[in-house]
Amino acid sequence: MRRYFGRKLLIYGLTFFAAVTINWLIPRLMPGDPVASMVSRANLTQPEAVAAMQAYYTGLFGLDLPAWQQYLNFWGALLRGDLGISIWLFPTPVADVITRAVPYTLGLLVPAILLSWWAGNRFGAFAARRRLLDNTVLPVGYILTATPYMWLAILLAWGLGIVAGIFPVAGGYSYAMRPNLSWEFAGSLALHWFLPFLSLFLVAFGGWAIGMRNMIIYELEADYSSYLAALGAPRRLIRRYAFRNAVLPQITGLALQLGVLVAGALVTEVVFSYPGLGSLILKAIQNQDFFLLQGIFLFIVTGVLIANFVIDIVYVLVDPRTRAGMGAEA
């Protein structure tokens, strides 16, 4: 057991190191100079003022240092929990910008991922071997998974937001409110949350349902199922065993899907102008905000790694073979 997790942790550590390094590198390989574009926005008339300002900000962000030194400083600051100052939202610290956006993204992603996984698997298992459902609902699932998030999101925003007028099309909560502890505010939050959630949920749901349905059919046709049936076991029992076996690849799939969902959230948040990390990434790239981009990716990388680790643990819990393997090693 300890060895298993020790090895996993080492791998995660290395992944983290590599991811952070790449994440530090990429914005610096992008063309253009963030300070120059920041200064050009200032619309100064006099060249002397421009020069003074440029020198000042380059020094402030430490961009005048050699690359290796910037890289070391970056790790140093990171270990102190300092993510730097945002260039785009100057002079807000990056940590502040991210902390304000994180609740929205997590509130969107966590339920969307877990619920779609749970509901998709249940539904897929249920639909398998029920011809009527299989022929009507699953094709819809195919369409849903093949739908790009953005397209579905725009359709939802247009249909339920603008035409039907039931849901708002932008923002994290009503523009008429201030955050407070009241049912009204919670309702507003939920209402603004619903469409982005739905678009993420639907796309992921379709994928899980199809996967599960295929797995169940495969398992029901496996030898052990036939054997159980021949022994006269009730159908319910056979299906339960089939489900347990079928769910294992789905758990692995969940780990793989996490990264994709983060990207999906990005697009969805942009479409609904939802104030989470996704909208921030886009703006950070557009404005060449190195520090903000680093901070967000750091957060995402950490999140995905933690989630994968959790799934590793879950795997140990649900798959006896993993435990058996560990026992043999230890």
């Binding site: 003022a49 409110m177 309702g187």
Partner: protein, 588 residues
């Protein structure tokens, strides 16, 4: 196995319950809050929850593209919408339509002699913390410019001193009176309170968040979040008594843009009263029954705000040849851009590029003698006459020395209207035999190329409408050429004579219209003969309004207000603030 599932079940169940109780809100109150404040208009007594009653709130958008990060009036390019104008105020307002200055914090101002300007402040103006505005505040504000990183530091290259003569009088002495620039500073610089700012370091002045802004204006800070900033009206704004003007909305909530599509959606849901976004196809909404209005009910729909120039890199061949530049000017099918790309939301530019508000400064004789018109046959002939011939038979002309001409025209990726426009321009160029291809680099990459002069052609609209065409000629002709040209003369055009004339123009008093025109005529002659950059079209002061909550928006209708309907930065002092005093609540 069952036991293990029990571990996960509560987790999922919790999620379910959470979603169930949040998404399962009774629809009625939820729908109300979806259209911002619809709930509030029915139940205005929500004060306890800090809501903004719909009928007292003005929702604006189109200025802010990122979370409000600072309220620092010195940072007039990225402070939260309304910091300058709603909270901090300038000495004068400038009305671009009539070309007149309106005393604002100042009561009057005049040149005592050629190098001394005397300013009288209004009596009874108070800061939002109750202290009176005095001459010391004005002196302090201008002296902040002695810090090199303050954006108006350049004033001190010709301003010698600013002193408070008494509590209401300030005297400015100049080493070289640049009257045009000074007039610009009088309305574009806002005054900050000395008693709040004097203890701040340069670092703090230039980079501070200034989260508790103390100003003289009609509004004070209320609250902000990453996608909005809210201002609340304050009691005792001086103009209510002095000018009998009052801002009508109790609250102003400015919504941060994420995209123009979202702005369009909010506008259609009546969630925005004033949108200053560029919304392609807005003409359809204006002509349809969507309740969306623009300044003009017909083309061009918008007031003009700035000129889009085709900037040519005059350090490169063949753009270093005026004959080539003039031929390109005649070849560009601007009409096709105006109609095809913009659907008539913009106007084609005058050959001088001066905005319609500056029409009186255009010397029509010079324009009719030297101005260009769209005529591709003539453009072709101009190229041939100047020695650009197709010697290798590939359908494109070559340089005079026989080398190939392969040029690129660039605009930032994602700027869809400009991207379409340069496709039209490239087609136009090809029609007269110039090999020009459109390219769409990343914005920051283009900024790099632009300042270092590593481009062939691009579109730029850096300079906005202001009190003086000097701004545009400074943009076209400023010398000397630096290693990095960050804000002006991107084409690196060098003409000492023209630059001298531009400086001479700066030395003309704004009221000396004849003197200005005389210099302008000489500048325009050089401009049209040399064509350092080609004016294309006038971008609009993008502005869409709805009337479900606020009416009497500025428009071209005879009895409507004529001030600028906008919250754009640096536009509140060009009349945006007056718009807020003109609008009326729709009901009651």
């Amino acid at each position: 196995m069952r036991n293990r599932w029990r571990v996960l079940t509560p987790l999922l169940a919790t999620c379910l319950v959470v979603t169930a109780c949040t998404s399962g809100q009774p629809p009625a109150p939820a729908v109300q809050s979806s259209a911002p404040g619809a709930a509030a208009s029915q139940a205005p007594a929500q004060g306890g929850t800090g809501a903004f009653p719909r009928n007292e709130t003005l929702y604006t958008g189109g200025t802010q593209w990122g979370a409000p990060a600072n309220f620092n009036p010195i940072r007039n390019w990225d402070h939260a919408t309304g910091t300058n104008g709603l909270v901090y105020e300038p000495l004068f307002l400038f009305d671009p339509n009539t070309g007149t200055f309106t005393p604002w914090l100042a009561e009057s101002g005049a040149w005592a002699d050629d190098t001394t300007y005397e300013l009288k402040l209004r009596q009874g103006v108070t800061w939002s913390d109750g202290k009176p505005l005095t001459a010391a505040d004005v002196v302090f504000t201008f002296e902040l410019g002695k810090m090199k990183t303050v954006p108006y530091a350049n004033l001190w290259t010709f301003l010698k001193s600013a002193e408070a003569v008494d509590a209401q009088t300030v005297r400015f002495s100049f080493s070289k009176p640049n009257y045009q620039q000074w007039a610009n500073a009088l309305y574009s610089r806002v005054i900050v309170p000395k008693h709040v700012w004097e203890s701040r370091s340069e670092e703090d002045v230039v980079n501070g968040v200034n989260d508790k802004p103390v100003g003289t204006g009609p509004y004070t800070y209320h609250s902000h979040d990453q996608d909005r900033v809210a201002w609340v009206k304050r009691d005792g704004w001086w103009a209510t008594k002095a000018l009998n003007k009052d801002v009508k909305p109790k609250y102003i909530v400015d919504i941060v843009n994420s995209s123009n599509e979202v702005a369009m959606g909010l506008l259609l849901q009546n969630g925005l009263d004033l949108s200053n976004n560029f919304l392609p196809g807005i003409a359809n909404l204006v002509n349809g029954s969507f309740g969306v209005k623009t300044y003009y009910p017909e083309p061009p729909y918008m007031l003009s705000a700035n000129t889009a120039w085709l900037v040519l890199n005059t350090e490169k061949k063949p753009m270093d040849d005026p004959a080539f530049r003039k031929a390109v000017a005649g070849a560009v099918d601007t009409k096709k851009i105006v109609e095809g790309v913009y659907g008539n939301l913009v106007r084609p530019a005058n050959p001088t590029g001066l905005l319609p508000q500056w029409d009186k400064y255009v010397d029509q004789n010079v324009v009719s003698e030297l101005g260009f018109t769209f005529d591709q046959a003539k453009a072709k002939k101009m190229l041939a006459d100047a020695g650009y011939k197709d010697t290798d038979g590939d359908g494109f002309v070559e340089n005079k020395d026989g080398s190939k001409i392969q040029l690129k025209i660039e605009v930032p990726a994602g700027w869809s209207d400009w991207m379409e426009s340069i496709r039209v321009i490239a087609e136009s160029a090809k029609a007269v035999g110039v090999n020009l291809t459109p390219e769409f680099p990343d914005y920051n990459a283009l900024v790099d190329k632009r300042s270092s002069g590593k481009f062939d052609m691009m579109i730029n609209n850096e300079r906005q409408l202001s009190n003086t065409p000097w701004m545009y000629y400074d943009y076209l002709f400023q010398l000397p050429i630096q290693k990095a040209q960050n804000t002006v003369n991107f084409g690196r055009y060098e003409n000492k004579k023209a630059w001298e004339l531009v400086q001479e123009l700066d030395g003309k008093k704004p009221e000396d219209e004849a003197g200005m025109k005389e210099v302008l005529s000489r500048i325009q002659r050089i401009q049209l003969e040399e064509m350092p950059a080609i004016p294309l079209w006038y971008n609009g002061l993008w502005s869409q309004t709805t009337s479900s909550v606020w009416t009497n928006w500025p428009s071209s209708a005879p009895d409507a207000p004529k001030s600028a309907p906008t919250m754009w930065r640096n536009w509140l002092e060009l009349g945006g603030i007056l718009t807020l005093t003109e609008i009326q609540p729709a009901k009651g």
